[in-house]
């Protein structure tokens, strides 16, 4: 069972990655315009991303 000495930090590390991703999404204004984002995916242009 001493494997949990590795598993717990790994779990926490993954959680931390998730948190960083969340913070990035908040600070890059992705929550500002939820209606617009919903419509944008339906646009028909063939522009590259």
């Amino acid at each position: 069972m001493s494997i949990i000495v590795y598993l717990i930090p790994v779990a926490l590390g993954l959680g931390l990655l998730g948190l960083i991703a969340f913070l990035w999404s908040v600070y890059s204004d992705q929550y500002e315009d939820l209606d617009g984002a919903a419509h944008r995916i339906l646009e028909d242009d063939d522009k590259p991303l």
């Binding site: 926490l12 959680g15 948190l19 969340f22 315009d33």
Partner: protein, 736 residues
């Protein structure tokens, strides 16, 4: 073959809002520099669907030099960045050319701080969620390993939980700690005091337990409490921020640029707040005045409907006063500014709005009443528990543990969520019915209404005159003259006929009419004396005369038509035993006729903006809870003063921001708002009842020393879940 919908070239392609016909003012004063590029933020009206988004962004990006154009559909702001020459006016012209309205937008300080506060809460919530998930990971291991897990392992798990909880508590909990500290300094207590106390004690006790290798550590309960409370706070802040966003359109109105004539004779474009008293201002045809002016040269007719509610334009000439908010119709005029922008009628109304806001802030919400009962209850219970256990011979450690457990379990997840969750669900239901709720606590005020006051023009009626009767071929001739004029009655004639040619040599004389040559004969369209008619018939609505120099004169009748659901809406209100009243700035005859048609017995005509606010104050002094429904600038003061208010979607920005909710889709919205808010109020009271019931069960369990971290976690989640599920019932139609 499926039918392909014909998309209008102008305005919203989905037809969700009619195209706006306006010319933008000069935008060059509003350019900001950012990262080496020129940027402009415009407030766009009429953009409602994804099609509008691609139309506007596509159109603006097509202009040479534009680097970035992003339209925000949720708040209607268009952000454009470009390099090179001044493209501000080109961009604005492009958007108005597509059929949308524009106004310059500059974010003011309080909107920015509201946005930052909301963002801080969202981040705190995210961090608390992360900590909660990871601590739970460890706690569930401890609960699952009960009896089998070695003490060292258990202590290690507790220690790791503590290490995660500590920074998160400081970061996410600072909202509560700072608030509690600021009221404690003044010797008072608010909801945040028991919360902070519970968080601190729970953490402290858990650290102690970890250090001595004990069995129960409450880190998970601590962070869970934080998380649920932050959800409530965040929802509250978001709802409030949406309300403030529209309120600052009033500032945007005053942000408009003004054409000033300098002493050198040159015309320059400046911001409205830069104009000084005595400056000479140029008002173009079709432009709205932003400052009170005394006319020095030019004659024209003006549309004062938004200021006085008067439905027909009046002629003005040199020496007369023009109030801010008035639209100049025919000819350009010049005038001296009577004061600064802050002295105008517009700012008087802004003052009335602020007074109304302050009054609303003092309204004691149900939530506040619940909190004031709750705080002393929690503190006394915990204190009594501590003392009782000590007296019964328990060790200090045991006694403190039980007292802390009591504090944690009585902690108000359910209470904090009760109101915000109901408000959010109600707001969503109203939104799906075309009603945009501007503040969550408005729902409680709507539920208390017993008297309804309505404006006439634009609210009960369509606001624009419609041609009632006219012989056919005369009409097409008259339209040839009418097409050249901005007068509302001419517009009504054009609307009745449609597109067509213009007569020869048309000229308009302000206040009298239009004349032109058709087939070699001179025709006139206008007032009776101008056209040469004698003995005009009496008429209840506005009329227009048309005739040639030789030959008979014909009279056209117009009427301001009722809105579609007006009669039904008002009879529903009467059935619900609500008092109904009409307050209008229009003439006696016009108001009397509409009141007759709708069966309203109490009405007042020719009421000024101050008069409306005074009438409302009088009604409220009588003890009535008044709902005000109005759309014009002259209603703004009354809308702010009323117990609750509604404005139609086509209303001026000012009136929209003075009201508690904005509706589209007709007067049946009044019924919807009142019934949904009553239901929401019922659900909120139920939620508070459920929170109280939860406490009635939880407190005995805690006081008798049976609460472990596991039970605390279950209790908290269960209570929050129940309250949320109950709030979702607002979405279902009630059986009334």
């Amino acid at each position: 073959m499926t039918d392909i919908a014909i998309t209008p070239a102008q305005g919203c392609p989905s037809g969700l809002e009619p195209p706006t016909d306006m010319a933008a003012g000069d935008m060059s004063a509003f350019i900001r520099k950012k990262d080496g590029l020129d940027t402009l933020t415009l407030s766009v009206r009429g953009a409602k669907c994804g099609g509008c988004l691609s139309k506007i962004e596509g159109g603006v990006k097509a202009i040479d030099g534009v680097q970035k154009a992003r339209m925000n559909l949720s708040n209607g702001k268009l952000f454009v960045a470009w390099s090179g020459e001044d493209l501000a006016n080109q961009i604005a012209a492009k958007v108005t050319g597509l059929g949308y309205g524009v106004a310059a937008f500059s974010e003011d300080a309080s909107a920015k701080s509201a946005k930052q506060e909301e963002r801080r809460l969202l981040v705190s919530m995210g961090v608390a969620a992360f900590a909660l998930a990871n601590i739970m990971l460890l706690s569930v291991s401890v609960w699952g390993g009960h009896g089998e897990m070695g003490e060292d392992t258990r202590t290690a798990m507790h220690a790791i939980s503590g290490l995660i909880a500590f920074p998160v508590l400081l970061f996410s909990g600072r909202h509560f700690f700072q608030s509690a500290w600021s009221v404690l300094k003044h010797g008072r207590a608010n909801m945040d005091v028991p919360i902070s106390l519970a968080l601190t004690l729970a953490f402290g006790v858990s650290v102690w337990e970890t250090l001595i290798g004990g069995a129960h550590a409450y880190f998970d309960a601590c962070v869970m409490l934080l998380f649920f409370l932050l959800i409530g706070r965040f929802l509250d802040a978001r709802l409030r921020r949406q309300a403030h966003a529209a309120a600052h359109d009033l500032a945007a109105l005053q942000n408009r640029s003004v054409n000033r004539i300098a002493s050198t004779g040159q015309m320059e474009s400046v911001r409205a707040d830069q104009v000084a008293k005595g400056d000479l201002i140029f008002l173009a045809a079709g432009e709205r005045a932003v400052i009170d002016l005394k006319i020095t040269s030019g004659t024209s007719s003006v549309d004062e409907s938004l200021v006085t509610g008067e439905s027909l334009p009046r002629a003005i000439q040199s020496g007369e006063t023009l109030y801010a908010g008035t639209v100049n119709l025919d000819r350009p005029i010049e005038g001296k500014a009577l004061g600064e922008a802050s002295d105008s009628l517009l700012s008087d109304i802004a003052g009335m709005l602020e007074a109304g806001e302050q009054k609303r802030a003092r309204y004691r919400k149900i939530a506040d009443k619940a909190v004031s009962l709750y705080v002393p209850f929690v503190h006394t219970t915990a204190a009594i528990t501590l003392i009782a256990w000590l007296m019964l011979g328990a060790s200090p450690r045991e006694a403190i543990m039980v007292a802390v457990a009591t504090l944690i379990i009585t902690c108000p997840c359910a209470l904090a969520l009760a109101a915000p969750v109901a408000q959010v669900v109600a707001s969503g239901r109203l939104f799906r019915n075309g009603i945009f709720l501007r503040s969550g606590d408005a729902l409680e005020r709507f539920a208390e209404i017993d008297h309804v006051v309505l404006d006439k023009t634009g609210t009960l009626t369509l606001g624009t005159p419609k041609l009632v009767s006219a012989p056919g071929d005369v009409l097409t001739q008259a339209a040839q003259l009418a097409r050249a004029s901005r007068h509302p009655l001419s517009r009504a004639v054009v609307e009745a006929v449609g597109a067509g040619p213009l007569a020869d040599d048309v000229r308009e004389v302000p206040g009298l009419g239009v004349e032109g040559w058709i087939d070699g004969e001179r025709y006139r369209l206008g007032s009776a004396e101008w056209v040469g008619a004698d003995a005009p018939e009496a008429s209840t609505g506005p009329t227009l005369w048309f005739g040639a120099d030789t030959g008979a004169q014909v009279q056209f009748h117009f009427q301001d038509q009722l809105q579609d659901w007006a009669t039904m809406a008002l009879s529903n209100l009467r059935d619900a035993h609500l008092g109904v009243e009409i307050l209008s700035g229009d003439t006696q005859t016009a108001v009397a006729e509409i009141s007759d048609q709708l069966g309203v017995t109490t009405w007042h005509a020719k009421v000024s903006p101050q008069g409306k606010a005074e009438r409302l104050a009088a009604l409220q002094a009588d003890g009535k809870k008044v709902l005000m429904v109005g759309d014009g600038l002259n209603d703004a003061g009354a809308l702010a003063m009323a117990h609750a208010s509604l404005a139609p979607g086509g209303a001026m920005d000012v009136s929209q921001s003075a009201s508690d909710a904005v509706y589209s889709g007709g007067l049946k919205a009044i019924d919807t708002v009142l019934s949904v808010s009553k239901r929401t109020r019922g659900v909120m009271l139920q939620n508070f009842g459920l929170a109280a019931a939860y406490n009635a069960i939880a407190v005995p369990i805690a006081v008798t020393g049976n609460v472990t971290p596991l039970i605390a976690a279950i209790a908290m989640s269960a209570s929050s879940l129940i309250v949320t599920l109950n709030a979702l019932r607002i979405n279902h139609k009630s059986s009334s």
